[in-house]
């Protein structure tokens, strides 16, 4: 832990053991000093899993709140970052189960095709088009992913989309590496079966069995 505690914490910044002990005792200054630097990593995990920024914001809050309450049970068997990401995946599972979430429709602002060429030139417009197309395809991909079981989906997103090594994903999910591999395998198989039938994503499934 390299975080520097706030001034109201009596801890020396160079004493990570004492810092973690203080976190376990519920010292909020210490907890904040440990968790705040991990916010970008937490946001990255959450935004890969849920994408909607508003949901990410809510999940940051619930994850941090859960971490504050759970710190007394942090045994130090993994890094704080891995432990926090694990809590985040629990929160995401619950979020996916939420009936209110399932009822919600996300409305996005889309550019008007009739607005004419981009003033900065065709190259910029072409880039924007390509990005819009990629976004559309990725939304379809996440739509298909949504029908896959939570554990398989999380393993797949963290390993394939976020590019994390299988061992790291296994540590985050508190599972064995073979179990994590099988989750990714099953998720990939289910996803590619759907992609094959989807004209927007059929190319992703090329070469598969």
């Amino acid at each position: 832990v390299s975080a520097v505690p706030r001034r109201d914490s009596p801890l020396e910044p160079a004493d990570p053991v004492a810092l973690l002990d203080a976190c376990r005792r519920g010292d909020r200054g210490a907890i904040e000093a440990v968790l705040r630097p991990l916010l970008p990593a937490l946001e990255r995990v959450l935004s890969r899993l849920v994408r909607d920024p508003a949901d990410v914001e809510d999940l940051i809050q619930t994850t941090i709140a859960a971490a504050i309450g759970a710190f007394p049970r942090f045994r130090g068997e993994s890094t704080v970052k891995t432990w926090l990401c694990r809590i985040a995946t629990y929160q995401v599972r619950e979020h996916w189960r939420s009936p209110s979430r399932r009822r919600r429709a996300v409305l996005e602002l889309v550019e008007d095709d009739r607005s004419g060429p981009h003033p900065a030139g065709l190259a910029v417009a072409g880039r924007a088009d390509a990005q819009a197309e990629a976004r559309r395809r990725l939304e379809r991909l996440y739509h298909h992913l949504a029908s896959i079981g939570a554990n398989k989906r999380i393993a797949f997103v963290l390993h394939v989309i976020d590019g994390r090594p299988m061992e790291e994903v296994a540590a985050i999910m508190d599972a064995s590496v073979p179990a994590t591999k099988s989750r990714v395998l099953y998720a990939r198989r289910a996803l590619m079966a759907k992609a094959k039938r989807d004209p927007l994503l059929a190319d992703l499934a090329e070469g598969g069995s």
Partner: protein, 353 residues
């Protein structure tokens, strides 16, 4: 076909195995697509605000945003990560103890709260937010409470609130079930969802209506389980281990793991995993009748796993050349999942004479 080598990936398997090479190519294409459209970032200010809210009072619910709901006016239903079990015990005078505004409840232990006692599961996170009020963020809570009508006991979650009006009831992730006495279920903003839920009735969070299930025999005495509920995290790990055992071919060990996990009365998702593992064990063991029975039960109980379960049952019956059973399963599949992975195949099979 799942290869054990693909899972274990020893040596240069990944380089030699055509399936693994194809999978790696597919992964690369998916990753490239994801990189081309990175997720929208939230502002640093919004991130810091969420962080601060968690610190200001961990027991507060996420600030509600203006959100489009479909259909408009649909109530914000429970989105809770909790299974609360509240058990009332003998009557008696209430207390007027003053509790701190927000005090963490120790996980894996029993804590006195007002005129009651709460036992938070080892994986749970909760706070006492009033003299007789508990907020549960996640996990499972068992409560013994004196019914004391002048001091109602309240269990609050992010999305619904349960007030003890009578004696014995249970609140789970899927709703509230009353064993004895009565409860009131409300939204966090105070709007009453169910004024009085009586014995034998339950409220389902997904359908938002109260229903009366089959009558159950009430126990003579309610005894709080001295052991906190098993940690879902540990049980998930056990199930993952059981699946790995099955992949390794150790069917008996996998079956024992699944049975042990079920005995621990886990939450729904873990229970579904365990039941699925038992069915997978039977299928791998050649116990086809039992496997089909289990898969069909799995599909009925857990619609989110129905496609897998019905697909597995279809494969078994297809292998056994039981045409009528296959058609019946396809018919069920099509009814439930008209856009499912097997829907086209089901239609084609059902068109055959």
């Amino acid at each position: 076909v799942t290869s054990l080598g693909c899972i274990l990936g020893r040596g240069d398997h990944a380089a030699r195995c055509p399936r693994c090479r194809a999978a790696a190519a597919q992964d690369a294409r998916v990753r490239a697509l994801a990189d081309a459209a990175p997720p929208p970032a939230i502002s640093t200010r919004a991130r810091d605000a969420a962080f601060a809210r968690a610190f200001a009072d961990p027991a507060i619910a996420p600030a509600r945003r203006m959100t489009w709901l479909v259909p408009a006016g649909v109530a914000l239903a429970a989105a809770v990560a909790v299974a609360v079990l509240v058990v009332a015990m003998r009557g008696g005078g209430g207390t007027t103890a003053t509790a701190p505004a927000s005090r963490p409840i120790a996980a894996g232990a029993t804590t006195a709260v007002g005129h009651g006692k709460v036992a938070l599961s080892a994986d749970g996170v909760g706070w006492q937010t009033g003299p007789t009020e508990v907020y549960l963020l996640t996990g499972r809570l068992e409560v013994e409470v004196d019914p004391a009508p002048r001091a109602p006991f309240r269990v609050r979650t992010n999305d619904f609130v349960v007030d003890v009006l009578g004696t014995v009831f249970a609140v789970g992730a899927d709703g509230v079930e009353v064993t004895r006495g009565a409860v009131r279920v409300s939204r966090p903003d105070g709007e009453v969802i169910v004024e009085r839920l009586g014995p034998g009735e339950r409220w389902d969070v997904h359908v938002q209506t109260a229903v009366a299930p089959e009558p159950v025999e009430e126990p003579d005495e309610i005894v709080m389980d001295p052991e906190p509920a098993g940690s879902p995290r540990d049980l998930e790990k056990e199930i993952a281990g059981g699946k790995a055992k099955l992949l390794e071919g150790d069917i008996e060990r996998a079956r024992r793991v699944a049975t042990a996990v079920l005995a621990a009365k886990p939450r729904r998702a873990v229970r579904a995993d365990a039941e699925q593992l038992l069915a997978d064990c039977d299928m791998n063991d050649g116990n086809d009748d039992r496997a089909v029975e289990r898969y069909r039960a799995l599909a009925d109980r857990y619609p989110d796993r129905g496609q897998y379960a019905l697909g597995a049952a279809i494969r078994i019956e297809h292998r056994r050349k039981r045409v009528a059973a296959v058609r019946e399963l396809y018919r069920v599949y099509l009814e439930r999942y008209p856009d499912g992975v097997l829907a086209d195949k089901a239609r084609a099979e059902l068109r055959k004479k």
